[in-house]
Amino acid sequence: MKAWIAAHRQALLLVLKKLHMAPLANLIMIGVIGVTLSLPAGLYLVIDNLRTVAGTVGTEPQVTLFLALDSTGTDIKDIEQRLAMHPAVRDFQFLGREAAWRALKEKNGLNDTLADLEKNPLPDAFVIHAKSTDPVAIEALQQEFSGWPHVEHAQMDAAWVKRLYAVLQLGNKAVLILTGLLGFALFAIIGNTIRLQILTQREEIEVSKLIGATDRFIRRPFLYAGTLHGLLGGGVAWLILLAALYIFNLSVSDLARLYASDFELQPLGLDASLALVCGSAALGWLGSWWAVSRYLSRLEQS
């Protein structure tokens, strides 16, 4: 165990010494890895933020009934009864036109525009949640409601949220594909860097093998180098995202203020950050493993 720790310490020190000896080349390398990784991570960030926005809107499909403006109190009672008895309705809520008008005035900074209107243009409305969330069933329900007396219009509110979700789903797939492709690129980049390092140390490896070095001994410093490159590259990607986010948020908060909202883009969560850095380190490890193994098996054949 002690020997094992000493061996790893020795390999790590060797790698750090090599990093120190060629700082510029290594920095550029780490920068390239960072930029490569920041692309899929950035896309993920954007989609994640969109999802957060969509989440605050509410995702449950609902049907809104707008009553004719001339509906009376008994008409409303009538519809209320029908809804209460309807087997497909889970719950519903009545929105009186006066209350809705007040709420609208208080919200969203539209006050200036609304002040110009002299009378309340809003109808009475019912917001209905169906028992089923199946879009087809809800659409049938919507059809049925629009045939009722005094119902001016029945609207499915969830349609655009669903569309947004579909787009986000697409975005998720794009992130996956991009991660796959750039992950492979990263593997190749790091593998190739390590391969070049191996070539400069060909003699050392050859002599080491002749005098009894195990493959593991030869591989160890290269694995450390590759993993370290990946780790630092992942860190750089994270910093790039943080910087981009900061710059974006300067504008986003301006924009959000115009809509009287305090929305701003959120940075990567802890688990996503860890996934980014650890995934990058893992790719570095894999890339260098592949490079060294390929070299060693060639050495064996010659």
Binding site: I211, G212, T214
Partner: protein, 215 residues
Amino acid sequence: MITFDQVTKRYPGGHEALRGISFEIGKGELVFITGHSGAGKSTLLKLAAAIERPTSGTILVNGQNVGKMRRTGLPYVRRNFGLIFQDHKLLYDRSAFDNVALPLAIGGITGREAGKRIRAALDKVGLLHRERAMPISLSGGEQQRLAIARAIVSRPAILLADEPTGNLDANYATDIMALFRSFNEVGVTVLVATHDASSTDAGRLLHLDHGAIAA
């Protein structure tokens, strides 16, 4: 300590470097392997050190059949040997001290203990005052002695040297041979391959001729 039994080595292309040779070398022996160039001296050493595998026949080192050994076991067999190559195989990107440090690092010995051993080995070959020198700045004889220091630093039981005096003038050659003899006197088994039969006194001779042992 080392036993060859009917060992044949055929290289790809059909060249037969060794043809069914058998011999035995006991612990603490000093053996000179002589023969013309191409007689199979280097091949014999490479087979003994498990760098190459025999085409047929059995090679035992310390009772282990190295020809049949699994790949992962070979490094540990090789650590029984101190190897001195015809072309030194020194690493020119590091100091004399660091060159000698390599076998210890492979064996997992570092730090102060390693430093002590490295200086002892350098002292033994008379290069202690050059520990910081780069190999390129050393003379041919000094480079060869540095290679010897590297071979003995991990205190191997067997020393294998392939033409250690090949490129040296007579004075250096005598020095080097004296060095081998001194290792042999403290119990190390020494095998030296040489085409130069003049400096092989006081040792057993193994003469190779076209891949076979000539009496």
